[in-house]
C-alpha cells in the first residue's frame, strides 16, 4: 500500500468536515495549523475515523490531539501504516 498523501487528506477533510469558504486548501498547507485551516477537534475526529476505516488502520488515541498540522497527521497515519505492513 502506498503512502497516504496530502491530496487524499484534503479530499477526506472536505468530505468529512466541509471546507471554510475563506480558506483555500489548494496551496501548500502542510505546515498550516488545522485551526488556521478552519478545522476543530471534532472535524479532525470525523476525518481521522474515515481515514482509519478506508485504510483499515487504527491510530493511537493521542495521535489526533498531537497532530496540529496536515504534515503531522500524515506522519501519524503513515507511521501507523508502516507498522501494520
Amino acid at each position: 500500500m502506498g503512502a497516504f498523501t496530502i491530496t487524499e487528506l484534503v479530499d477526506t477533510l472536505r468530505e468529512s468536515a466541509g471546507e471554510d469558504e475563506d480558506i483555500t486548501l489548494d496551496g501548500d498547507i502542510l505546515t498550516v495549523t488545522f485551526e488556521d485551516l478552519g478545522y476543530d477537534s471534532l472535524a479532525l475526529l470525523n476525518t481521522v475515523s474515515r481515514i482509519e476505516r478506508e485504510l483499515g488502520v487504527r491510530l493511537p488515541d493521542g495521535a489526533i490531539t498531537e497532530a496540529n498540522t496536515p504534515a503531522e497527521l500524515l506522519d501519524a497515519v503513515n507511521n501507523t501504516l508502516a507498522e501494520t505492513v
Binding site: 476543530d40 477537534s41 471534532l42 475526529l45 470525523n46 475515523s49 488515541d61
Partner: protein, 425 residues
Amino acid sequence: MTAAFGSRRVVVTGIGVVAPGGVGTKQFWQMLTDGRTATRAITSFDASRFRSRIAAEIDFDAVACGLSQRQIRKWDRTTQFAVVATREALEDSGILGESVPERTGVMVGTACGATTSLDREYAIVSDEGSTWLVDESHASPYLYDYYVPSSMAAEVAWLADAQGPVGIVSTGCTSGIDVLGHAMDQILDGSADVMVAGASDASISPITVACFDAIKATSARNDDPTTASRPFDATRDGFVLGEGAAMFVLEEAEHARRRGARVYAELAGSANRCNAYSMTGLRPDGLEMADAISAAMVRARLDPADVDYVNAHGSATKQNDRHETGAFKRSLGHHAYRVPISSIKSMIGHSLGAICALEAAACVLAVEHSVVPPTANLHNPDPECDLDYVPNIARELPVNTVVSVASGFGGFQSALVVTKPGWRA
C-alpha cells in the same frame, strides 16, 4: 425588588430517585455518602465491538417497582424511570389530593428521550440495517411515543394529576438544571403553584455508545470499570455513561406552608448561558459557566462567600475539569479555594440529561443531612485542578447554600442554587 418575580418562593417538598446502585432516595444517598461506585461492564447489550464498554447501569426491576406488563411493554425505559421516580416524589410530598390540578404543572428534562427504543425499533424495521421493511406492521404501535419525547411528560402529568403547564426541557447535559429553572420560573410568575419537575435518561444503547466512541468522550478503561470515572484525577480518560431519573415536587412556599408540608430545601436561583463557541467544545476560560454561576447567585441574592458546597459537573474529561476549575475561580474568587467541591459522576456515571436532576437531589440531601458527598476515584489530582474536590470520603459540615453546575453539548452552561429552608432572607 425581593426576588425575580415578586414575593413568591419555590421549595422542594418531595424527592424521587432511580439511580445506578439503587432505586429510591435512601439507597441513592447511602451509596453516595459511602463513596461506592456503580460503574461496571455493560450488560444490557453486547458491547464487545465498542471502544468504551462500561457504564453505570441500573438493575431496574420494573415489576418490583410497581409497573404493569402493559406499561413495561409500552414505555421506553426513560419513561419507566420518570414514572417510578415521580411516584416516590409524590408520595414523599403527600401532594396528591392537596393540589389543584389546573395549578399543577409538569416539566421533565431529557437529553436522549426514547433513544434506546428508537435504536431497537430501527434495528427491527431495517432488519438490522440490511433492508428497509416498508410494511408499517413491522413497526411498534408505540413508535410515535418514542419519536416525540413529550409523551413522557404526558405520562408524568397523568400520574401527578397535572393540568397546568406540561412539557419537556431539553438542553443536552444541562437539561436537569434547566428544567428545574424553568419549573421554578413558572411558580414564581404565577403560572402554577406546584410543579412536578426533574429529568430522566436511559440511553445506554448501541447508538449512544457509538456516538460517544466517535468523539472519544467516554472512558475506555474497560479493564477496571469500577474506578473508570475519575473526575479531576490526572489519570482520567473520559466520562462513563450512566442512566437514571430524579423527580421533585416543587411548591410555592406559602402553598407548602399552608398544607403543613415537610420542606427539604429552597430553589433560590438558576441561570443558563451559551458559549456560542462549539457544539461540543469548551472555551478554556470558563467564562460562560462563571457568568451562569454569578447570575444564579445574584438571583438568589447570595454572595460567593455564602456557598458551602459546589456540586461540580466533573465529567472526567480533561477539557471539562479544567474549564470548570477556571469557572469556579472566576465566579467565586478566593472562596473557590475554600469551598468543598465534588462530582458524584465518579460514582453513578454521567446520565446525560438526567444527571443534573440526580445532582440536584444530592444537593438537597446534602442540605438535609449536613453531609457533602465525595469525589470517588480521586487519588492523583490533576495539578491544574487545584481546588478542594473532597477526595473519596464524604464530609460532615453545615450546608446552607449549595451551587450545582453543568455544561452540555450545544454550548449550554447552567447553574442552580439550593438553600436550607429559612436560610435565605
